[in-house]
Amino acid sequence: MNTQEIKLPSRIESVDAAAEAADDFAKKCGCGDECVYALDLAIRESVANAVKHGNKFDETKDVEISFEEFDNVIEIRVRDFGTGFSVADVPDPTDPENLLKSNGRGILFMNSFMDEVKWENPPGGGLRVKMRKKL
């Protein structure tokens, strides 16, 4: 079983740093190109959400990321320390009335490219998204 944990500050540059870590981890686990792309996109979107909407660019708050590989599955967890939100309240970006909005598509991409996406409110506050991809 492979595992890795990192903490990143709440700034936009952390999105690239997280993606690099995800790429390295995925390749170490033998992911193919499609799997690497899916993980890259999912972690970029989830870390961007954590930095922007969760921690609201507050650099005193980290974004905690963990990677785990077990039973031919890669699991990524991304946690922020914000006030949380209800995923059900996020407007559907494919609804005709939302098509021309400039944001709100990150969760759609995470759901589209990962096999499983779950949102949790961990003890201690914040929001954690747990995403799984089969190898």
Binding site: I12, E13, V15, D16, Y37, L41, R44, E45, A48, P93, T94, L99, L100, K101, S102, N103, R105, G106, L108, F109, S112
Partner: protein, 115 residues
């Protein structure tokens, strides 16, 4: 160094922006926004975005394409897309934005469509 290079060409009254690199949150999205605003500021409102060199785009980049589209429309112009990579095409399909954008695989056909 920026993750993206945007080069401007003129074909008649159509401004072609050749994008090369990544359109992602941060510099890539900002560079696209800046380029569109500059071109609109010069009174050019027929814009063709050549995305053939864009190897990667995220939701922020897709959002910037939408913002560019609405900004150009607001100025009475037209923004069209050229040379989508498979990945960008997939993302535009998932987001149902293929129904919004006018997309071309051939530059000559794209240019002709402005007339």
């Amino acid at each position: 160094m920026s993750d993206i290079t945007i080069t401007e060409r003129q074909a008649g009254d159509v401004t072609i922006l050749d994008l090369d690199g990544k359109v992602t949150i941060g510099e890539g999205s900002v560079a696209l926004r800046t380029a569109i605003r500059r071109v609109l500021g010069e009174g050019k409102n027929k814009i063709l975005l050549n995305l053939g060199g864009v190897g990667y785009i995220d939701s922020s980049g897709i959002g910037e394409l939408v913002s560019s589209f609405t900004a150009v429309n607001k100025e009475g112009g037209t923004l069209k897309l050229l040379n989508l990579t498979q990945k960008i095409q997939d993302l535009l399909a998932i987001t149902k934005l293929l129904t919004v954008f006018d997309v071309y695989e051939d530059e000559a056909a794209a240019l002709a469509s402005y007339n």
